[in-house]
Symmetry: C2
Subunit: 298 residues, 2 copies
């Protein structure tokens, strides 16, 4: 197992223009793990409450996701209630940390030597705690506006220590106080990461490194049911592909951008990870081929 | 001369985060004509006032732009005063139609058989008047929210009669009342156009036809000085390339999208068309090569 994934596990209550689902299982760790499980075996570190559905645990096992790092705490699973009035922006209605409040992520022994580590969007202090337990060569992390404004110094520490940063375009502007995203990305490259993946929602994503600039378009999804987990399922697909190839050259990064785009596109076609968990290699590869066609000039 | 261009000619007063320029010569016809003149000879139909600078007329002639269709009316040139607080959206501070108020576009005899006709963003009634005078086989048009809400029936008539529609993503949503731009584009294809170019500002553009979906990224400009004319210089570069090839197959359309992206990227690096008028084939081709590189997966 060469990919350890740390993040939140949640039970969400979500309204979107397509409908409403209560008890929608989600969280950054699960979306990322299910997406990457399409390419490689991976293991999760996270915490659930006593109310966490047993059938979800079985489904994750069936995806060959290692759950040794998934603790069960006393009390209820982390809960998020939100609404998407337009599909690009979630309004938080309620957040209950529950068992997540006292979460101290612990890497199981068998995860410590995983070459790749993904830190989903959680408190930067927890991300740092995990980094200190891991021998990973390649660490990737995600974050959000809440930590950029709330715990900037801790986040700075994390960013110093990772090779790959996933970040939204609004957030990289906020992080660097630069309006032009390429100027912003140059600023972040000085802090430590070798590769920045800028996520632009319905406009696709950009891979940016010292010697790389690559634009990936979005996959044209007709019916977005629930955007929750789009970024995490992108990161999971991206990293799954990278870990499978076990390479981080520009050519592999470009391909990984396309795979991440595709896993995210499948994920947003249903609530929770209904679509993502049941998709297969054929569907993923068909979408990859389609995407390559619509961006090819020749 | 195989490309006739009809549109506004203006003297603008523009503030952007980069600065302020009074008497900035612009207008949809000029931006489009200068961009297309990098590929082919073209002719303008438009009106200027007695105050229009003679040296601009000379510069246009030097670009081999045919000015037989450029009338001089009694009074002042059309004036627009605007400000860009953020670079994606202009606030109109003042508009003075001046000679444009009584403009009745007349195609000179030598323009009537031009195979390609571009109708820049002007009143749909004027666009219809021009269509009725032209024998063009391929007609392209641009429009804006003002006409979509103000003269929807006339605009519908125009759209029925054109092969190519250039439109912003917000505007195609407004035109069709569909949020998903692919659904919106399907709706527009039923009305008449064979090809829709959806412009997404800093997120690039999409070419959409029955058997074509193509995403072009934006060229990563570091210093946007003035976005005025971005859409027109895109349309001009796109059409200039198409007219030069004299083909409208998917492969040519994809290439044209890249060329349009590049002419627009050069145009926004200065006020007025300072940069666009002085650019050359080498600079354009270098940017085309760069763009192809950053979207190529292989």
């Amino acid at each position: 197992m060469n990919l350890a994934i740390v993040g939140s596990v949640a039970i969400d209550d979500i309204k979107t223009p397509s409908g409403h689902r209560e008890h929608s299982v989600g969280g950054s760790a699960l979306f990322a793990a299910i997406a990457s499980s399409k390419f490689v075996d991976c293991g999760i570190v996270g915490v659930v409450g006593e109310d966490f559905p047993e059938d979800t645990v079985c489904s994750l096992r069936q995806q060959h996701i290692d759950l040794k790092g998934l603790e069960t705490g006393k009390g209820k699973t982390f809960r998020w209630k939100g609404e998407y009035c337009d599909l690009n922006k979630a309004e938080t209605i309620d957040t209950r940390l529950n068992v997540f409040a006292d979460f101290c992520p612990k890497l199981p022994e068998s995860y410590k030597d995983a070459k790749y580590l993904f830190l989903g969007n959680i408190h930067p202090q927890l991300q740092l705690d995990v980094i200190s337990q891991s021998n990973a060569e390649i660490i990737a992390c995600d974050t959000m506006n809440f930590w950029i404004s709330g715990t900037p110094d801790l986040l700075e520490e994390v960013i110093k220590k990772v090779q790959i940063l996933f970040i939204n375009e609004d957030e990289i502007r906020m992080l660097t106080d630069k309006q032009n995203i390429f100027d912003a990305a140059d600023e972040v490259l000085k802090k430590g990461p070798k590769l920045i993946i800028i996520k632009r929602g319905e406009y696709g994503s950009i891979a940016y490194a010292k010697d790389l600039l690559y634009f990936a378009p979005v996959y044209p999804v007709r019916n977005v049911v629930d955007p929750t987990g789009a970024g995490d399922s992108f990161a999971g697909g991206f990293l799954g592909y990278i870990v499978k190839q076990n390479k981080l050259d520009n050519q592999t990064i470009k391909q990984a951008m396309i795979y991440g785009t595709v896993t995210a596109s499948i994920n947003i076609e249903s609530f929770s990870f209904d679509r993502l968990i049941s998709t297969n290699k054929d569907e993923i590869n068909n979408r990859v081929d389609f995407l390559k066609k619509i961006i090819s000039v020749e």
